[in-house]
Symmetry: C3
Subunit: 146 residues, 3 copies
Amino acid sequence: MTTVPTTTDLYTRVQHFQAAQMQVLDNGDFDAYSATFTEDGEFAHTPGRPAARTRKGIAEELHAYHHERFGSDPVRRRHWFNMLCVTPQPDGTIHATAYVLVVTSRPGVREPEIAPSCVVHDVLVEEDGQLLTRSRRVEHDYLSIG
Amino acid sequence: MTTVPTTTDLYTRVQHFQAAQMQVLDNGDFDAYSATFTEDGEFAHTPGRPAARTRKGIAEELHAYHHERFGSDPVRRRHWFNMLCVTPQPDGTIHATAYVLVVTSRPGVREPEIAPSCVVHDVLVEEDGQLLTRSRRVEHDYLSIG
Amino acid sequence: MTTVPTTTDLYTRVQHFQAAQMQVLDNGDFDAYSATFTEDGEFAHTPGRPAARTRKGIAEELHAYHHERFGSDPVRRRHWFNMLCVTPQPDGTIHATAYVLVVTSRPGVREPEIAPSCVVHDVLVEEDGQLLTRSRRVEHDYLSIG
């Protein structure tokens, strides 16, 4: 596979982009989160669930998923990304792979649940000097071993 | 809110600053930790506990807190920061927000306790080319949901 | 101790290097992992176990250790590094210290084991513009408190 050398500048920008993106998601602002995708963006967050497409579709999917999964359960989720690898491609897109842990706190319970362990595969693009996610695919380790 | 664009250089400097600062804290060197604050620095580490003020006050608070909390319990604590967002302000200060997990090991017990999940809100300043913490406020997720 | 100022560029390069190195290890590619060491590299990963030496020796040690430790147990391990401190030395080597957690998933079990908490001490060198690990020593917190 031909790749383009990564600059440290790009590496840091991807770190910051993903951190801000996930802080927005964890604050429950699904519209702002979907705005970090390209207009035709694609987001496959859970195996067996079809990928959501377009900003509008991603925001709708997140509203539906959170309602279905947590209902009125007052959880606070924090997505931790780490061990980021960034690989610019000859076509101008940027491939980024990171480890993910989801940290879930509940009122009055000091010890959070930390699960599952995942790997996220992002395809990023730059539009008007701004990084955007064109596609994001999440693999869950406990479902993909073997 | 008006903000100033973040350079990737600043982002990396904040990462390194916080990493070194927390390695010092986790080594129990409370005087070196308090020296990473401005002389009039402020540190609110636990909800319901008044903020410590000034380098001297921060060092004293940490000695008192650790004695009270752990006594002769031989724990090794590691503060993990992640998902950093850095926002320079027009007044020259730097706002930094990060997720935090506290990892606590005990002799002979392989699995550490990982709790609580927090968010840290820092106001940083630059003095003589060196970053310093002017104020640090820590929110604990399990106490602030709802 | 005399040290050389760290550039943010070097800090980011070490982050990326360690992330790529550990993704390779976690994918079970022990030959590619050992190729991230210098030819005379040294790797002490577990207290009480002698350090492995040379690329060949490191690859052999990893094959032996994983067979012995996990056998046919289908685990997926993810090494998380964090809180990196980088200190270039006057002799041209680079000292890097980071916190480590090992995240281990098993098929069908959503919650991974997260243990132990470690600190890694690396000595890195640059050869032909490429970072390599000359030595890596891992301390396990639960075995080194007290």
